[in-house]
Amino acid sequence: MSGANTVSARSGKGFFSELAAIFRGGDAATRLTFLVMGLGSLVRRQFVKGGLFLLSQVLFIWYFFGFAWQYLSKFTTLGTEGMRREWSEARQIFVRTPGDNSMLILLFSVFSLMLLLGFVFLWRASLRAAYRAQLDARAGRKPATFQEDLRRLLNERFHLSLLSLPTLMAFAFTILPTIFMILIAFTNFDANHQPPGNLFTWVGLTNFTDVFWKDPLKAGTFGRVLGWTMIWAVIATFTNYLFGMVLAIMINQKKVRLKSMWRTIFVITIAIPQFVSLMLMSQLLHDQGALNMLLKQWGFVSSSVPFLTDATAARITILVVNLWVGIPYSMLITSGILMNIPKDLYESASIDGASPVRMFFSITLPYMMFVTTPYLITAFVGNINNFNVIYLLTRGGPLVTDYYQAGKTDLLVTWLYKLTVDRQNYSLASTIGIFVFVVSAGLSLLVYNMSGSARKEEEFQ
């Protein structure tokens, strides 16, 4: 057992040195496994395992050269032959000859490269299996049978059974699309370069330089949208958090009765889908909406208040409506934690004569900040990406001409969405997406590591 473990294990050595060790220590069958997967296992009479390895190699080679190569070979250019429309004298019509499809080339190339990576891991697994079987045979032990291998999948190697399906799904629906879109940022895939009619190709860092400084319109829009995104995220996160906590403290007071009723009233508003409540709000606050109608009828204003159509007013409206949306969430989350603050802290503080306000700032707030840091990060990143509130209330408007396809209340994500769905400017959208990712991931990792909850992972088990 120990022999097998020291070899198959164990990381410290690195990918290549481990393979080298296997090659040095392996006999002929193990060495041949470098070329023919599963051979080492087959020789040691592990037929099912070895057979599966061999089958996967055959299938992979068949896929890779039979199908994927036609796309992979064009990966560097993303296709050279556009679709052709030629006048056919014989049939008296334009005949379309389909050319290369840049998008499919890119998509299948990324997919095949990922598959190749997966295959390399499988290949290493077959080598490890061969070597282990060889060592077992040399030590006079019987190599593991297929049943034993299966049993190990429910115990020592349980992580393999648990994680393979989620990993596959993550590859299909998260990693593959993400890599694809990252690559798109380095191409000129937009409304004028749309497959299958047209080709798109690599343009290097042009999109990034355009959006950061070269193209005055795009760069100007980007800077101002980014500025508003940051202002929005900071204000929205902290107002919601503070007011939510104050609300929770009010409900949690010892003397307040019917606690669960109060909580339920606010929770109801969480449960109503946001697209419903926010669309109602936008109907309510519309220039010709119910609120303006009422205000005019009552004689408080003579013309409609531009709640959603004036840049500054719209920004304030959005922040206020977001309080309506967000306070119940933070109330619900903080009230659970508030009850967990050790009571003796407050008791000793009140013996020392501390006022309630003092206690809030010296005990409650520090404790809450410490415990809820992960929640605050998620909330902040969530607000950077807060699509619903902005899109459903103003659709990013009011639109202005010195912005490129964006409005005064657009966040980076709503701008990204409009660029993708309305304008098909995929390359610019991806560039912005990468930027949003860098900002939110950077912030998250920074604060996450500072907060200590990562370091303490093992401690409280």
């Binding site: 294990a9 164990r10 990381s11 998509l107 049993r151 429910l154 115990n155 349980f158 648990l162 994680l163 399906l165 989620p166 799904m169 993550a170 299909a172 629906f173 998260t174 593959l176 993400t178 798109i184 009010m250 409900i251 007071q253 307040v256 109060w262 909580r263 009233i265 606010f266 929770v267 109801i268 508003t269 449960a271 109503i272 889908p273 419903v276 669309m279 109602l280 109907q283 309510l284 909406g289 009552w298 408080f300 309506w324 619900l332 989350i333 659970g336 934690i337 415990v371 809820t372 929640y375 990143v381 990406n385 949003v436 990712f437 991931a441 998250s444 990792l445 909850s453 409280f460 088990q461």
Partner: protein, 414 residues
């Protein structure tokens, strides 16, 4: 004990004084018009009477009596009465304000059209005095003043909900009405959602969403439990790397990859189908494994170790130890996964495009509010929204405790 039950003194006195003053506001001008003004008493005794003023005068008088009684007896019950009268007075003032326009138009003959902005200082003074009396009497009774703040906040939060409900039952069509309460009530908005399916096939969308939600819920819960157990309890090479990659990947904005997902689904022939929705929602939901992992982390490891010594495999430990003690997180995961398809309209719009038969309710309702439909369909939109919101609300209220435990499960013990 006795000390605690006694009234808090300066506050009680002040409350009584304000309670005596409040009804005097009836003598102030209530409606300014032209050069002169109409006082509260004048309005009350006018014929026909202004009805909205009656409760206001009644509660004012009641508060006056309780104040006198409390001033001389120092009685707790008198103070309770004063607090109740003051609360009712505040409500009556708000009601009078909201209905001022309607009542003035209906029952007064004024020189010029009435606007709420014409209200004189009388109503405002009455309302503010009643509010101050309420706050002070609560303080005198050593009851939390938070009640006042909580009730007004609750009102603000419930107004849109109330508007949604009222509109769902409103008889008149249109996006809004120039008055607050509907003129007529009906159930037609609901029944027409299910009978008039030519343009908006609501029943079919409802079924679509239900199917997608149930399957997504099962798949997501399974995936999340698998991932979190592996990350929390199993130690294997490159576990940390794996987790960090997961964390980083989940930070890419979902919109960015949306189009790519659409093309991938199209490449395998699954675009515009319900299956694709299930796959996308499950894949997205599975990324939320952090919360469940945090919860598993708090289950004492000693339990696992004891079981391992008894010869239990990792698989058995999951079923016999971890799963039974993680009911909250299972419920939380399941419910959030179930809710997702009901509330998302973005992914569904990108994936379904114009495949109208496979819409979910969210997208269908979203389409109802497009400019050309809004006049005819707004009340039906509200009715449909109620039908979506109702089950979700009930589920959510049932799990709100789990929700908190779910979100904070890992963090609290830290």
């Amino acid at each position: 004990m006795k000390q605690k039950r006694a009234l808090r003194q300066p506050h009680a006195m002040l409350a009584c004084v304000l309670g005596l003053l409040a009804p005097l506001a009836l003598l102030l001008p209530w409606i300014r018009q032209g050069g002169g003004s109409l006082g509260g008493l004048g309005l009350l005794t006018a014929s026909p009477q202004v009805l909205a003023l009656r409760p206001l005068a009644f509660f004012g008088a009641l508060g006056f009596l309780f104040s006198l009684y409390a001033l001389f007896s120092k009685n707790r019950n008198a103070m309770r009465g004063l607090a109740a009268a003051a609360a009712a007075g505040v409500l009556a003032a708000v009601y009078a304000l909201l209905t001022a326009k309607a009542t003035a138009d209906a029952s007064l003959t004024l020189a010029e059209p009435f606007f709420v902005s014409h209200l004189g200082p009388g109503l405002w003074a009455f309302g503010l005095l009643a509010l101050a009396t309420l706050v002070l009497s609560l303080m005198a009774l050593r009851q939390p003043v938070a009640y006042v703040v909580l009730s007004s906040m609750a009102a603000v939060w419930l107004v849109p909900v109330a508007w949604l409900l009222l509109t769902a039952f409103r008889q008149e069509p249109g996006a809004y009405t120039p008055y607050v309460l509907p003129r007529g009530y009906t159930l037609m908005n609901f029944s027409r959602l299910f009978t008039e399916t030519q343009q908006f096939n609501f029943p079919r969308w409802y079924m679509n969403t239900l199917i997608v939600a149930v399957i997504t819920c099962l798949v997501t819960t399974t995936l999340v439990l698998m991932i979190s157990y592996a990350f929390s309890r199993l130690r294997f090479p490159s576990r940390k790397t794996y987790m960090n990659v997961g964390l980083i990947i989940s930070m890419f904005p979902g919109f960015m990859s949306m189009i790519a997902i659409y093309h991938i689904l199209k490449a395998v022939g699954l675009d515009q189908s319900l299956v694709s929705l299930i796959l996308v929602y499950s894949g997205g939901g599975a990324l939320g494994y952090f919360i469940a992992k945090g919860f598993f982390d708090t289950i004492p490891r000693s339990l696992d170790e004891a079981a391992t010594i008894d010869g239990a495999s990792k698989n058995l430990i999951f079923w016999k130890i971890i799963l039974p003690s993680s009911k909250p997180i299972v419920v939380y995961t399941a419910i959030t996964a179930f809710i997702a398809p009901w509330v998302d309209f973005i992914f569904v719009s990108v994936i379904m495009k114009d495949n109208y038969q496979n819409y979910t309710v969210a997208l269908g309702l979203f389409r109802m509010l497009e400019r050309e439909h809004i006049y005819e369909y707004f009340t039906r939109f509200c009715a449909g929204a109620v039908l979506v919101a109702l089950p979700i609300t009930l589920l959510f209220i049932k799990i709100q405790k789990f929700y908190v435990e779910g979100v904070t499960g890992g963090a609290v013990k830290g």
